[in-house]
């Protein structure tokens, strides 16, 4: 199995690569983790990971600047049905539109806009930076064996915007930050995490292992 982590000049790619390599080792899986900026390599991969750090529009522009990458993602995810995991802004790009700084179109996989968080407690700081627990909206294979809820494991968040999913079915997990905030979405073979699995220690490694075994 070959897992392609898409390199389009955004984010902490080294951490993501290392976390996936560690998950492969610990789970005893036979998988090759490839950090790649080549559309061909993405189009033929068995699993796709799209990281992303920064502003929505900048990430979108960065991705568009890689020759053939958008088409490669569509081919491998939409037509071949390979499992996809978006992380942070990589997850937000799965939305219809991002409204950060300006309006930017996303992939349209998860209906809804990426909007600024507005906690109902004014003392809460934006960005949300730190460790928070998750509430599952519905069971999902990527959360199998992962304790969630108030007494569950923590995930690491760094974000000011979140994806307001229009369809309840697309929402897998929320976190509480002055009201529910979208933490994880999924639709078919496409999953996306607002938090950083590659920084979320126990929870993160378990989720990555589940993704590597996922058969949507």
């Amino acid at each position: 199995m070959r897992v392609a982590i898409i390199d389009y000049g955004s984010g902490n790619l080294r951490s993501a690569t290392k976390a996936f390599e560690r998950a492969v080792r610990e789970a005893g899986l036979d998988a090759e983790i490839e950090l790649t900026d080549k559309a061909d390599s993405v189009a033929t991969a068995d699993r796709i990971v799209l990281p992303g750090v920064g502003a929505y529009a900048d990430c979108r522009a960065g991705l568009d600047a890689v020759d053939g990458m958008q088409q490669a993602i569509e081919e491998v995810v939409d037509r071949h049905g390979r499992p996809f995991l978006g992380i942070c802004v990589g997850m937000q790009l799965m939305s219809s539109r991002g409204l950060e700084k300006k309006t930017t179109n996303g992939f349209g996989w998860i209906k809804g806009d990426v909007i600024e968080m507005t906690p109902d407690d004014p003392s809460l700081k934006i960005p949300q930076i730190g460790w928070n627990t998750l509430t599952l909206a519905r069971p999902h294979p990527l959360f199998e064996g992962i304790p969630t809820g108030l007494g569950g494991l923590h995930a690491y968040f760094v974000h000011s915007y979140h994806l307001a999913a229009e369809h309840a079915d697309d929402l897998v997990a929320t976190t509480d930050y002055g009201g529910p905030v979208t933490a994880f979405v999924a639709n078919g073979n496409r999953a996306g995490s607002q938090f950083h699995p590659e920084k979320s220690q126990t929870l993160g490694l378990a989720l990555i292992s589940n993704f590597l075994r996922w058969k949507p």
Partner: protein, 258 residues
């Protein structure tokens, strides 16, 4: 409210080795930063901070190697600061494996650099590190001023106004160090921390002066910081990160204990 307060060990790194100064002088070499990072990762630190205090430009690149080797072994969020002066510096640190970059003197010298960095990399990865000292006399209203060059050089800039300006420019977080308290083990400057934390919309990390675990509780509870940074108390084994987090939890602060 389920977001937890963070405990952040900070390692001062010089020429690729860990040091810790008492009020920024009398440095004592205390080990390999990557080994320390691994130990803090295993101990449940919520984030890790490297402050590069390498003076010689010949050795400036040592920090990139330290960050890269740390990122290979640790899956905890990493903030790196010290000598960050250009967009290229930030990009190199992020590529090496840093999650956030802290900007100090360059922000004082050129506030627009913060705006440029936040535009390029997102507010969430730009931490502005503010070193300040109390300049008001006893009986006067509290006033703090920004100091640079390890606390030796006054700038005349009001710390609270500067903090607000940095947030307006796009800082996603403030690392607030009291140069009066740094290395003194007498506790954070709570008045300074609370004044700024209550004034800005972004998270504030309290720093400078931790001597015991009550100080960390006070930083969050009374200083209204969302994270507390400490160096020597962890570094020399006075307390473990786990002890600190359990103690804070016992004193009513929401902590991540998994």
């Amino acid at each position: 409210m389920t977001l937890k307060a963070r405990v952040i060990p900070c390692l001062d790194v010089k020429d690729g080795r860990v040091v810790k100064g008492v009020s920024f002088v009398d440095l004592i070499d205390a080990g390999d930063p990557v080994e320390s990072a691994k130990a803090y990762d295993a101990a449940g630190a919520d984030e890790l901070c490297f402050l590069d205090i390498t003076a010689s430009s010949d050795n400036r690149d040592t920090i990139f190697d330290v960050v890269a080797r740390t990122a290979d072994h640790c899956f905890m969020p990493l903030t790196v600061g010290g000598g960050v002066r250009s967009i290229a510096d930030i990009r190199k640190l992020l590529l090496a494996g840093a999650d956030k970059v802290s900007i100090n003197s360059a922000a004082v010298k050129n506030p627009d650099f913060v705006a440029e960095a936040a535009d390029k990399f997102g507010n969430q990865c730009i931490v502005v590190s503010i070193d300040s000292k109390k300049v008001s006399k006893p009986g006067e209203e509290d006033r703090w001023e920004i100091f640079t060059h390890g606390g030796r050089q006054a700038t005349g800039i009001d710390a609270v106004e500067f903090a607000e300006k940095m947030v307006a420019r796009g800082a996603g977080e403030l690392l607030l160090t009291s140069m009066d308290r740094d290395g003194q083990k007498s506790g954070y400057d709570i008045a300074l921390t609370r004044t700024i934390a209550d004034r800005v919309s972004v998270p504030v990390i309290a720093s400078g002066g931790v001597g015991n675990l009550d100080h960390m509780v006070e930083g969050i509870r009374d200083g209204h910081a969302t994270a507390v940074l400490a160096a020597s108390i962890f570094h020399f084994g006075t307390y473990s990160v786990g002890e600190a987090k359990r103690y804070m939890a016992e004193h009513g602060i929401p902590m991540r204990l998994d």
